[in-house]
């Protein structure tokens, strides 16, 4: 048909030079356009997917965001049209009702923002917040808006300082919004004053209703006497929640966890005020007088009324460089649940003992992550763990490492922080802690990457050690210490490497990355990793005992077998043995079932199990964790496995035997006991399943096998201490996706711009050259529609060096 017209190709544009002659081609273009049918295009060499996708079809409501917002074009226009009146109503009862609705809707917006949406489309869809100075005549609304704004600032600051918001990078984008204002530092005292007034009103009304004499003459909160108590209470708990929440955030930012005790008290108060807020919803909804929202679950206020003064479309131009997507604001109940969870997660952080032992830190972070904390809580944890390059802002990381490897005192003080390797390992530890604070999906990917760094460091340590041993002939005491240090560091860094690898593999279960036919190879690899981890742990324990023995030599003689005891029967070692038996047992059971054709697996047409093996363990194989692992080895060790041999080795029975022994050592440690219980259950289920299958023989297997596989995968996962699913089920996208800067290609530019904004008091005009750089970066990486910068408001101040060229253009 019209293919020719639509495939006209242009020659590459020559770069502008002195000889460039500029000509007006408008008429040519117009003529060309007349030949083009609708939907056809002339495409050049740089016809990219993003360019194609960025073409918006005007007047198509799916693409043209202008079509959708039939609302106001500016905040001023909205205000002129009475979209956010002050007072909210001239009837003082209705006014209070409306203010409470605004408060509730803001809570819902805040929770929505925290879970990864833009500030502009959530909290700052509130017209009162956008023009805060207008509210000064309404003290209640005014103080509430102020403390919301201060809280937002505090959250943004912790999240951007922690930089744990990988992939969630729209969270802190706030330019263009009136986030900072004078007087926000006084918001707490303002709130105190308003709170006192309302408490007095509450007391007065209580006194009146019990016919007591009123001490002072107080104007009530609103006009209906029978509702006075209810509204006073509803407002008070909302104000107090804000007060304690803000305090919590401030206390948690105190260095070295010094504000944790106070924070815990504020968290407790927050939770009780939240409960009060929930209680008030019956009263509020029964006296509601506004327009009711339809669905109870989606309702963003306790009263069930539509709040006034919100318009998300007003900020359209601040939200994203592509058409803004409709956001579903959390329902009020869901928002309350979100805050309860956030507060619980923060409370867990506040209760941490700040142990100086690296093992404890890792365990704590693992335990903390089990409940799937959201971004804000994770950011607080990160800020706690790494402050000023020190653990908790208190302990040097070389101290942490020396404690972990039980270094003899001789070296501790002088040598350690001078060693390049210790510095290098310290940096790896900082990175590891940072990664462990990110969300599970990102964390697994990053763990896979840092594995390489740990492995490289281990190899370097090994080489250094060999060199030192080579020079052994000129042995002196000092050199001996050096060798000792290198040895200990090597063992420790290898141990950490295998720990990271085990976590990496286990997290694949949590993230549902393995399909049932891949379980066998995953458990097999896990088994290998656990064996290596155990080996290194035992070496470390033996070495540390060696050290302490030397120290204690004079005091008393250790019995000969202490070393063996500690390295073979310490709880940590036994626990690792459980994991080894469990993963080996599961791998062998699955291998046997597949060898005896009880699990049938259709071969795929494009590749084989080998390619799936390579892809799943790519990062481990590349990092040589451990060395000499291959698909061939996996096949060799599983291809001949039969059910009878799995029965004979009695893996699951062994697990049960060890867990029994361990229970005593873990008494008083509920987390460890829970872990043991899970391990026991997995072992028990699979032991029984194995027996049943073995007895039943080959008949009627499909049903049973489905049962067993359901058990082992789900529960091995849980047993591995990383389990559990997110409470909220995901919803498929309504209108698709917006290209985030997933690869962080423009991070530098973004940071420069943000830093400039910070230093120039958020006067974006002063940072125009930075925002230009940032936008250019996004355009270059196809993270934004390519557009002439002049259309984006960069006109006069641009290209001072390029102005000559432009002048030339104009002349010709």
């Amino acid at each position: 048909m019209a293919e020719k017209a639509s495939l006209v190709r242009f020659l590459p544009v020559p770069s502008p030079s002195e000889q460039t002659v500029w000509a007006d081609v408008s008429s040519l273009l117009n003529a060309a356009c007349e030949d083009l049918q609708e939907g056809e295009l002339i495409h050049g060499e740089n016809f990219s997917l993003f360019a194609a996708m960025s073409a918006l079809e005007i007047m198509d409501p799916k693409m043209d965001s202008g079509m959708e917002s039939c609302g106001y074009r500016s905040v001023e226009e909205a205000i002129e049209n009475n979209a956010a009146p002050i007072p909210l109503n001239h009837d003082r009862t209705i006014d209070v009702q409306c203010v409470i609705d605004v408060m509730d809707h803001l809570l819902a917006c805040e929770a929505t923002w925290h879970t990864g949406h833009s500030l502009a489309q959530t909290v700052f869809s509130c017209i009162y917040l956008l023009r805060l100075e207008r509210t000064s005549l309404h003290p209640l609304l005014h103080t509430f808006c102020r403390i919301i704004r201060a809280t937002c600032n505090s959250v943004i600051s912790v999240v951007s300082d922690a930089r744990t918001h990988e992939e969630e990078d729209i969270f802190i984008m706030a330019h263009g919004l009136p986030l900072k204002g004078e007087g926000d530092e006084k918001c707490l005292s303002m709130l105190q004053a308003v709170e006192e007034t309302i408490s007095r009103q509450l007391r007065a009304c209580k006194a009146l209703s019990s016919n007591k004499k009123v001490l002072e003459d107080i104007e009530p909160l609103q006009t209906k006497f029978d509702l006075e108590e209810g509204y006073c209470k509803a407002v008070l708990c909302r104000l107090r929640f804000r007060k304690h929440f803000y305090h919590t955030l401030i206390c948690m930012r105190k260095p070295q966890g010094k504000g944790f005790e106070l924070a815990k008290k504020h968290i407790a108060s927050c939770l009780s005020e939240l409960a009060e807020m929930v209680n008030s919803s019956v009263f509020l909804s029964s006296n509601a007088s506004g327009i009711c929202q339809t669905d109870a679950e989606d309702c963003t206020t306790a009263s069930g009324c539509q709040p006034i003064g919100f318009d998300a479309s007003l900020n359209g131009r601040f939200s994203a460089p592509t058409p803004p997507r409709a956001i579903k604001i959390f329902g009020w109940k869901k928002a309350v649940k979100y805050f309860e969870k956030l507060l619980h997660d923060l409370a867990i952080i506040c209760s941490f003992s700040l142990s100086p032992f690296f093992e404890d830190v890792l365990r704590f972070v693992g335990q903390f992550q089990k409940s799937k904390p959201d971004l804000v809580a994770r950011a607080h944890l990160h800020i706690l763990l790494v402050q000023d390059g020190k653990l908790y802002g208190r302990d040097y990381f070389y101290d942490i490492i020396s404690r972990a490897i039980s270094l003899p005192d001789v070296i501790k003080n002088q040598e350690l922080h001078k060693s390049d390797f210790v510095v290098q390992l310290g940096q790896l530890v900082v990175n590891l802690l940072k990664v462990l604070c990110t969300n599970a999906a990102w964390q697994r990917r990053k763990l896979g990457k840092i594995l390489q760094d740990w492995s490289v460091t281990s190899v370097q340590l090994e080489l250094a050690l060999k060199r030192e041993l080579g020079e052994l002939s000129k042995l002196s005491v000092d050199e001996n210490i050096c060798i000792k240090l290198s040895k200990l560091l090597l063992i420790w860094s290898e141990e950490q490497t295998f720990w990271i690898a085990s976590r990496f593999l286990m997290m694949g279960f949590e993230l549902e990355l393995y399909s049932p036919c891949e379980y066998c190879m995953v458990y097999w690899y896990l088994y290998i990793i656990f064996v290596k981890l155990l080996e290194k742990t035992q070496m470390r324990l033996a070495a540390s005992l060696d050290t302490s023995k030397k120290k204690g030599k004079k005091k008393k003689d250790h019995p000969k077998d202490t070393t063996i005891d500690a390295t073979h029967f310490s709880p940590l070692v036994l626990l690792l043995r459980c994991y080894i038996c469990l993963s080996e047992g599961l791998a062998m059971m699955l291998a046997a079932l597949s060898n005896e054709r009880m699990i049938s697996q259709k071969p795929s047409i494009f590749n084989s199990e080998q390619e799936r093996f390579i892809q799943h363990f790519d990062l481990l194989l590349k990092a040589h964790v451990p060395d000499h692992i291959s698909y061939v080895l996996f096949k060799k060790s599983t291809v001949h496995t039969q059910l009878t041999s799995v029965m004979k080795y009695n893996y699951f029975g062994d697990v049960q035997r060890i867990t029994k022994e361990l229970r005593g050592s873990f008494a008083g440690d509920p987390e460890r006991l829970a872990e043991l219980r899970q391990i026991e259950q997995v072992a028990e289920h699979n032991r029984i399943a194995l027996n049943v299958i073995h007895q039943a023989g080959a008949r009627d297997q499909s049903l049973k096998l489905r049962k067993t596989s359901g058990r082992h995968c789900g529960q091995m996962n849980a047993g591995g201490a990383f389990g559990g699913n997110r409470g909220v089920g995901p919803v498929p996208p309504e209108k698709g996706i917006f290209p985030l800067d997933h690869l962080h290609e423009c991070d530098l530019e973004k940071k420069e711009y943000m830093a400039c904004l910070k230093s120039s008091n958020h006067l974006s005009e002063k940072c125009k050259h930075f925002s230009k750089k940032y936008l250019q970066c996004r355009m270059e990486r196809n993270l934004m529609a390519k557009q002439d910068l002049s259309e984006l408001g960069f006109r006069e101040e641009l290209d001072k060096e390029g102005s000559k060229e432009r002048d030339n253009k104009i002349e010709k």
């Binding site: 194609a52 990102w442 990355l513 494009f606 390579i614 996208p733 698709g736 996706i737």
Partner: protein, 213 residues
Amino acid sequence: MNSEAAEEGTMITSTSASASESEKVDFSSSEIEYVSYGGEHHLPLIMRLVDEELSEPYSIFTYRYFVYLWPQLSFLAFHRGTCIGTVVCKMGEHRNTFRGYIAMLVVIKPYRGRGIATELVTRSIQVMMESGCQEVTLEAEVTNKGALALYGRLGFIRAKRLFRYYLNGVDAFRLKLLFPPLQNSFLLPMNKNDGHYHQDYLQQEGCSESHHG
């Protein structure tokens, strides 16, 4: 041409193997005709299907981008003259590997669950393999069980989970299919007319007798 945009979050791949029982159409697999993209007259058919089944609004230029640059990777399925399914793909260099990318895959509801999507995508992957791709990738929502099962059967693994890949908070899987290093050792057992794919991409395919279940 830049593959990053497609890799990093602009495309939705959607397919479904499950069908609602009530809407099923009675037909035999041999009645389905598979056709390689044959030119401008196919474009409105692809657009209509994708527009109806996927929520992402694509401009006509997005479709043109794919079908003009890689017509050999796009296929349509017809039943009695009506287009009932389509697949749209691309391929190119990505970090030192030559990789294929499946951008859109649609089969309309009454025809799902009969292997049509599998056949469509298999044809595209076959061409990618023969064109020297080392691997094929795509993203699928974690909720799209049908698509995940379909690609799992074809040998894709779930390489990564992408946290809140979509703005409304849904996660995605990045699926990957690695081809074995020796391509010739893996010929399609069910594909009788293998030779058709090699050079003559734009020719019309006849009805495929064999069907992948």
